[in-house]
Symmetry: C2
């Protein structure tokens, strides 16, 4: 075991992004603060079966907003005021007490918003096998968001050639992939900024229903729901018979004290619509199958992935906050360190 | 063909329930009127391939309310002002130009709200095979509502033993069956008036969410949605992981100018819920399979079916209006004539 090897323990500084306190309304940079502590680069006894990680990239994801609320209202736990945020990231293993990992391994999965993290649950980490792609992709196309797009579109919605697919929040980590995956399946896709068939920006459209009618005069077969509220209502009013809605997230609702009402649910009956919520982590057993599909497509240039990279932990709070204003163009990632 | 057989055409009076005009808000008896016309008891040339029906029972169903609106907002056409209402019923064939039917057959399916109806689409009628049960059952347990309960519960929700099932509007034609079917599948069922495990009346409960928590402290696995609006919101707030919602109807919304907002849809994500709308007529190919299951259960007394019968077409408008005030206890049917 690592603790028994008699290495010299090096103490280094460990910059962290601290969650200050629970948030209401839109999150602000001041809801977080930068602190610099110290860490002994050795697995402590209490985490002898864990791994010590050097974080390389951290992922900014919409699901982190519900974790800023003091409630069990999310499917993952709330952040602890006074402690660093946590989330998905890419890291290098500095020391391992777990049989699945060894020093030097690159991994992606749950980690802290800091330079170094002691992970006591390395079962939630994936070892990175394909290293001839940008490592940051494991916060996006090759990580949780990629799997989210894959599961939501292919597993829940079974797209058929010629079907009409609408992706909301298509400039984000997930949305840009749903659109490309749907194109690969031969669908007609509408959303913005990434060369899909048509494009509009939901924040600029006064009348969402009219906009959807204009872009989908024949209606929508598949909707990948990332936005919620008024957007969902407008979509429900323009669905086709036997349409499918994968409910992945509702970013427009996360900063509201109480969620908007959705009025057009009778459309579910009339149009025989199936609407299904999902959490990607229920489907991680499909990850090898997904990699098999997507890695060659990345290498052949058949799928492109746009990233928006913030440099350094100091810029991490602004990057995270920016998500909820739609400031990111592409997957928002924070680069913490080189390899 | 019938018209060529040289029978003597008998002219008789034909009482009808006329739809006066489009309705907003709750329907009133005065939205309909009784008229007495005449009918020649012979298939007209224009309906030579149709059937002439003597109506015995007519069915009052919630889906008829959307048909009173001047819009394409329903999955079936609007009623025509000045013409009789139409709906499901049980009838006797007086004359047939269609190969599937002959004089004397008993049928159920789409017919007019009148004593005699010329049906030009007898493909939408089912010939009644089992006659040793009350004929009126073919407006309910052995007709459209029975199939609705069967399809919504078994096909869409796949109930498993021990699951918690909530049925709204359980005193109606469909709800009373969903509850019994779920009990047969070994589920724990909550709804009122028919001996299910627990009972409450949604119109009397001030705080639906608290009521549901009280009756389902462990949450709801399956919800058969007949009510919509606030009821759906309360249910969404108390669903269990991987719950299923069959969306059959939303009777609480049919009389509103604009539907209520539903706020708790984020529960779909957190709890991985599948919510699916359906129209029973898409599933009529399963009718023989359904009869095979349900007819023996009726004869053995293992399923009971409560009817609320109005006598005569004169009482049909009040019976239909009563549905939307919850006046019916059991399936609301109108008896038009003896065999």
């Amino acid at each position: 075991m690592a603790a028994e090897e008699g290495q010299v323990a090096v103490t280094v500084s460990n910059k962290q992004v601290i969650f200050n306190n629970y948030v209401s309304g839109f999150p602000k940079e001041s809801d977080m603060s930068i602190a610099v502590g110290e860490i002994n680069l050795k697995l402590p006894e209490s985490a002898a079966a864990g791994v010590l990680l050097k974080n390389l990239y951290l992922s900014c994801d919409p699901y982190m907003r519900p974790r800023m609320r003091n409630s069990s209202g999310s499917y993952v736990g709330a952040f602890q005021p006074g402690s660093p945020l946590s989330g998905y990231g890419v890291a290098k293993v500095l020391e391992s007490g777990h049989p699945n990992f060894e020093k030097g391994d690159l991994v992606w999965g749950s980690t802290g918003w800091e330079e170094y993290t002691v992970s006591t649950e390395p079962g939630q980490l994936f070892k990175i096998q394909h290293k001839d792609v940008p490592l940051s992709y494991y916060t996006g196309i090759l990580g949780m968001p990629g799997m989210t797009a894959y599961v939501g579109l292919y597993e829940l919605c079974s797209p058929k050639k010629g079907e009409y697919v609408y992706v909301s929040a298509a400039s984000g980590a997930v949305g840009q992939l749903v659109g490309q995956f749907a194109k690969l399946a031969g669908c007609y896709v509408v959303k913005n900024k990434f060369g899909f068939d048509e494009a509009f920006n939901y924040k600029e459209e006064q009348d969402l229903a009219a906009a959807l009618k204009r872009y989908f005069p024949q209606g929508i077969d598949i909707y990948f729901e990332n936005v919620g509220g008024k957007m969902l209502d407008a979509v429900l009013g323009n669905m086709r018979l036997r349409g499918r809605i994968a409910v992945c997230g509702m970013i427009s609702q996360y900063n509201l004290e109480s969620p908007e009402g959705v009025h057009n649910l009778a459309s579910l009956i009339m149009n025989r619509i199936r609407m299904e919520g999902f959490i990607v982590s229920d489907h991680y057993h499909l990850y090898p199958k997904y990699l098999e599909m997507v890695v060659p497509k990345i290498k052949e240039g058949k799928i492109v992935y746009v990233e928006d990279t913030a440099e350094g932990l100091d810029n991490a709070p602004a990057a995270l906050v920016g998500l909820f204003y739609g400031r990111n163009v592409g997957k928002q990632v924070v680069k913490v360190a080189d390899d």
